[in-house]
């Protein structure tokens, strides 16, 4: 009942609707500008909205996320530069369509498919989250510890070309989360008696450095890249085609929601998997995949927007974010005194309803704004990097200062900016660091609690894990993940595929 009242709170509050509309609109253009990511926008937004009331702040975050994930497809189709990682798969067939002069149609299809995916993701969130939350109430500290480890391993291994680099990045994040006063004993850890370190390093400062400043510096490495634009006058959906591809859209949306719900995955992986699935299952496409197949647009676009709803499921019910953006939104919720986790549905059902309601409204506005503003888009993508990137740096500086009104945080942000820049050059992913910082208290506290319950004995701890049915399943999943990511398994799989192709 309270969930429904939370949903209706969105529909009956014109100010909240205005917030969602504004941020969906902004999200579309942020997502569309190559170099500006949804993650960057969300991390900047968290620093400016933390003094707001919780509902407008959440509405803004959800709006930017839903608009931004779609926005990436505009530049993917028109410029062949995916504005967001989730739009990489969209460019495979979207750009060839634009080259054939069908950019208006391609954009129209992506809008409708994104909205279908968005609605399905939100619907599954609304139905599935209460069940998972009830199940999660059975979790003991050791299961939470294992879930945190699983999330870190997933984002570490899936988001990077090298599993070891991804896991190393997650460990850096865990270590940053340790710095400050120990929450159980109150003792200083790695503070070196520095007063600025006693409260720890705020994760928003880390986010702004790693996603704001470092990304701006990376973009400045090459100022001479200019997008080759395609001409488009009007975005028009071909409704007959939209209807024809509904079954594929539904399949891809379900896949996207499922992939998005796995901790540490996200829209980019969901879109690529849906593209691959569409390629395998479509027998006779009108145009081959990679040359402008409509199926190649439908599958990733419905999947990446469906993944948003999916990513909220583990974040709200287990406190484990599905991807980097939901990690930031989890951070925003913590700032506002909300505690996502198994008790969230019992403690704040109205907020859960509000999130679902905001998702619905945001998708409605996506349908409206998605068909508009193509001329504005053309102007916005023309903003030169030499103006855009220094402005992002200034916004990162302002954002890091506002957290504690401290200049020291600006220096931390700069330090993380330079660190993030170096890590990106050397192919170490930065998203696992953020997840590590946010999950650090959850993983550590539950590890220490379960050790205490096991009478300080590591063998008892291991015994409890192996004899508990839920923890045993989680350990089995972690072991399978480690084996499937190992070089031995990958080599074995490659050899088997080569043998099968040779027959």
């Amino acid at each position: 009942m309270e969930i429904l009242s939370g949903i209706s709170a969105v529909f009956t509050n014109p100010l909240i609707i205005l917030y969602i509309a504004t941020f969906v609109f902004l999200g579309i253009y942020i997502g569309a500008i190559p170099g500006l990511s949804v993650t960057m926008a969300a991390s900047l937004l968290i620093s400016f909205t933390f003094s707001w009331d919780v509902l407008p702040a959440l509405a803004a975050m959800i709006g930017v996320q839903i608009g931004g994930v779609y926005g990436g497809s505009r530049s993917a189709i028109l410029l062949n530069i995916p504005g967001a990682p989730a739009a990489v798969a969209t460019s495979f067939d979207g750009y060839p369509l634009a080259q054939k002069g069908l950019s208006g149609e391609a954009l129209g299809i992506t809008v409708v498919q994104s909205v279908i995916g968005g609605f399905i993701g939100t619907l599954i969130l609304a139905i599935g989250a209460p069940f998972i939350s009830e199940f999660a109430l059975k979790f003991s500290p050791r299961e939470y510890f294992l879930l945190g480890v699983m999330g870190l391993l997933l984002i570490g291994s899936l988001g990077s070309k090298s599993t070891f680099r991804g896991i190393f990045a997650a460990l850096i994040g865990l270590f940053i989360g340790i710095i400050g006063l120990d929450s159980m004993t109150g003792q200083q850890r790695f503070t070196f008696n520095n007063v600025y370190l006693m409260g720890g390093i705020h994760y928003v400062v880390v986010m702004l450095g790693l996603f704001g400043m470092s990304e701006a510096i990376i973009q400045l490495r090459d100022l001479s890249i200019y997008p080759v634009k395609q001409k488009v006058d009007r975005i028009r959906p071909d409704w007959k085609r939209v209807a024809k591809y509904i079954p594929l859209a539904l399949r891809s949306s379900l896949l996207g929601t499922f992939v998005g719900a796995l901790p540490g995955t996200g829209g980019d992986l969901a879109a690529l998997m849906a593209y691959d699935q569409a390629k395998r299952t479509t027998k006779n496409p009108e145009v081959p995949f990679g040359e402008g197949a409509i199926e190649g647009l439908v599958a990733p676009e419905s999947a990446n927007n469906a993944a948003i709803g999916g990513a909220y499921i583990p974040m709200l019910t287990l406190g484990i974010p599905g991807d980097a953006v939901t990690a930031i939104i989890l951070g925003a919720m913590l700032i506002h005194g909300l505690r996502p986790g198994p008790l969230f549905m019992a403690e704040s059902p109205d907020i859960f309803g509000f999130i679902v309601g905001s998702g619905i409204i945001a998708n409605i506005f996506l349908l409206v704004f998605g068909f508009m503003g193509i001329k504005l888009f053309a102007r916005i993508v023309e903003i030169p990097k030499f103006i855009l990137m220094p402005t992002i740096i200034v916004l990162s500086v302002v954002g890091s200062y506002t957290i504690n009104n401290s200049v020291a945080d600006i220096y931390w942000m700069m330090g993380f900016g330079v660190l993030g820049y170096l890590l990106k050059i050397y192919n170490v992913p930065v998203a696992p660091i953020i997840l590590g910082v946010i999950l650090s208290p959850l993983v550590e506290l539950n590890f220490r609690r379960s050790i205490s319950l096991g009478e300080e004995n590591l063998l008892f701890f291991v015994r409890d894990i192996l004899t508990g049915p839920i923890s045993f399943v989680l350990v089995a999943i972690i072991v399978i993940m480690l084996i499937t990511q190992s070089k031995f398994y990958i080599n074995l799989k490659t050899k088997r595929q080569q043998r099968q192709q040779g027959r």
Binding site: I167, L171, F175, L220, D222, L223, P390, M414
Partner: protein
Amino acid sequence: MKTRKLEKGEISVLVGFAFISTILFFLSLRMYLAKPVLSSQGAFPLIVTSLMIIMVVLMFIELKQYEKAFDNSISVWRKIKSTGTLIFPGKILHVLLMVLLYTMTMPLMGFAISTFLFLLITMFILSREKIKRIFLTSAGIVVAIVIIFQFVFKVNLP
């Protein structure tokens, strides 16, 4: 099979990771030994830093399969110079210096003036466009930020 070439300075970066991870490991060990039980404040950092060292070792092993970035005949000085060019191409170093100066001068000059100067000089360094256009753009951005954040979002500016 050598699938890619090492980035310039990649090994040095890993050495840096190894060095930092080892220092953190010993600091954690000292913390753990002060109260050597698994639920103490030092146990988790010890596990994390131990895993960091293991990951660095595995990353080193992984690098073995790649082609070297430099020939053995190249002098150390040229290697450093070449790595420096990879990390700080074009005007990146100038921008980083400007960011540092910007942060240092902000408490002295205030947000508006320091931001305006940062934007003006950085944009000029990056583009060499007409100074009048850059001047107006920088001023416009500062005014917009002050209005939006100070008056609309009610955010405290530095």
